[in-house]
């Protein structure tokens, strides 16, 4: 069977002057960004600056107060859910097996049994989970659970993956392994992703562009572009270290200021 690329023709995302407030709280202010197809955009910013809110709006789970999110380009014909989330807390159904959790997102689509089974087998193989198809989530470690969630996201052949701190519930070693997994998956079949994280090392390992948001209300403070191919990025790379330090310098001011505001509130 030919490997279906996650991302065929591809879909570009464009965020235009997006602002949002909950009641009186201004959360996001005038955000304009572009996510070209086949690239990963990392979003970093201090706690509570509206990263998750932004991601929910990109994925259509929430409506912005102003501005819009535009999608352009074709969705590949085998794509079942163009904008697909990977959640921080995995969001696996505990009463379904690994394979059952993946089938869940295929069951509402007109796929015949064979096609469905093929998709499940394919994503399980790509995430090295084939041996665990029948296991229940409670039998898996955190890292494995997140791999199941990533497999589930890939099963619908998404045009864009929306990942909200997908690795932050995991320990450092598991995180490293999963970053390598993600890089491997991307190298084999480049996918478009918006990747929210607190971890700057993750951002410089995975991001083609890294967006730094200011403290609340979140504005785009800076957009950093990294051109090193993903598979050549190592933790020892001086260029990446410089990028990470620069990100930290930007973040530290914002985080300090955010803390002060909290103390005064």
């Amino acid at each position: 069977m030919a490997h279906p690329t996650i991302l065929g023709a591809g879909m570009d995302l464009k965020i235009e002057q997006l602002s949002h407030s909950y009641d009186t709280v201004n959360v996001l202010s005038d955000i304009s960004l572009q996510v070209p197809s086949g690239q990963i955009m990392c979003v970093v910013g201090p706690s509570g600056c509206g990263k998750s809110t932004l991601l929910r709006m990109i994925g259509g789970l929430e409506r912005p107060s102003a501005g819009q999110v535009l999608q352009s380009g074709d969705v590949p014909p085998d794509c079942l859910n163009p904008l697909t989330f990977v959640f921080q807390d995995f969001a696996l159904l505990p009463w379904r097996s690994v394979a059952g959790n993946i089938e869940l997102v295929l069951e509402d689509h007109p796929l015949d049994g064979a096609a469905r089974a093929a998709r499940v087998a394919d994503v399980l193989a790509r995430t090295n989970l084939s041996d665990f198809a029948k296991a229940l989530p409670r039998q898996l470690s955190g890292g494995m659970k997140q791999r199941v969630a990533i497999a589930r996201a890939m099963a619908v052949h998404p045009a864009v993956m929306l990942m909200d701190e997908p690795l932050s519930a995991l320990d450092a070693q598991t995180r490293e392994l999963l970053i390598d997994d993600l890089v491997g998956l991307w190298m084999r079949a480049p996918f478009t992703a918006v990747y929210v994280t607190h971890n700057l090392a993750e951002a410089v390992r995975l991001g083609h562009q890294i967006v730094v948001l200011s403290r609340r209300p979140g504005r785009v403070r800076e957009v950093m572009h990294l051109s090193t191919p993903l598979d050549q990025r190592s933790m020892a790379d001086p260029g990446l270290q410089a990028a990470q330090e620069r990100l930290w310098a930007l973040m530290r001011d914002e985080a300090l200021a955010a803390d002060k505001e909290l103390a005064h509130a």
Binding site: N81, T84, F85, A91, L104, D108
Partner: protein
């Protein structure tokens, strides 16, 4: 001066129910033996408690004469039919309250008003509405099991992990799929523990209903024994009721074991 090294004192343990087999049975056995001894020795008068061996003899006789099933079968039927109606309607209404704001706004106060009414007090009314026969008994048990089931069910639906629902939405699952595959299984543990309470209430109401106008049934049997002050038969009836309670609780435990293996 230095003390000799000594082990760190253990402070953990406890606060963790463990399965102790046989203890429950032992408590029953000891209690029954005590009563047997007391009634034989005379320090429990035969007017206070019957002799356990006599109760057993009464039960054996009840079984042999075939009267056992004549009483138990109608009781079980009433319990099954009445509580099936009450529980099914309760789960349906509870899920509606959990899912729809309109149903919640409209029905929660109604359920709160119905819950504390002692349903037994309504039995005369039910007799007029549904007839003196089985209808009024079904209705009493159904209403009695309905309200606790509703409360347990909508609480359980409220407690379903919202991130799972949001996950379902984010994958574009249909509304009905989310309800069937995420909300209902997620609410099942709460619904089942509500079922324990509902069915116990169902047994209490069953006896009450049978005490009012039933020829056969455990309640009728107990009432008759009571009015004759026949303690052996009264207690034989009570033993049957207790066994029914244990049986129901065991059935639900089996159901939980089957359906909730996914719980950690």
């Amino acid at each position: 001066m230095h003390d000799a090294p000594r082990p760190v004192p253990f402070r953990g343990g406890g606060f963790r129910p463990q399965r102790l087999r046989g203890v429950g049975v032992a408590v029953f056995v000891v209690l029954i033996l005590l009563i047997e001894w007391g009634t034989r020795a005379g320090w429990i008068s035969s007017l206070t408690l019957p002799r356990p061996s006599d109760v057993v003899a009464t039960l054996v006789q009840l079984w042999k004469s075939g009267l056992f099933f004549q009483h138990v079968t109608p009781s079980l039927t009433r319990l099954a039919v009445g509580s099936a109606m009450g529980v099914l309607a309760g789960v349906a209404v509870g899920v509606m309250i959990g899912l729809f704001s309109l149903a919640r706004a409209g029905l929660v106060p109604l359920v709160a008003a119905l819950f504390p009414i002692p349903k037994i007090a309504l039995l005369p009314l039910f007799v007029i509405w549904f007839g003196i026969d089985e209808g009024s008994k079904y209705a009493l048990i159904a209403l009695g099991t309905f309200t606790p089931t509703v409360v347990a069910t909508f609480g359980a639906v409220d407690n379903v992990d919202r991130t799972l629902v949001r996950m379902g939405q984010s994958f574009g699952l249909r509304w009905w799929s989310i309800v069937r595959k995420i909300v209902l299984p997620g609410a099942l543990p709460g619904i089942l523990s509500g079922l324990r309470i509902s069915l116990s209430i169902g047994i209490i109401l069953l006896v009450a209903a049978e005490m009012l106008g039933a020829q056969y049934g455990i309640g009728a049997y107990i009432l008759e024994a009571g009015s004759l002050y026949d303690l052996e038969r009264l207690f034989a009836g009570v033993v049957i009721l207790s066994s029914l309670g244990v049986l129901v609780s065991w059935l639900i435990a089996q159901l939980e074991k089957r359906l909730l293996i996914w719980r950690s």
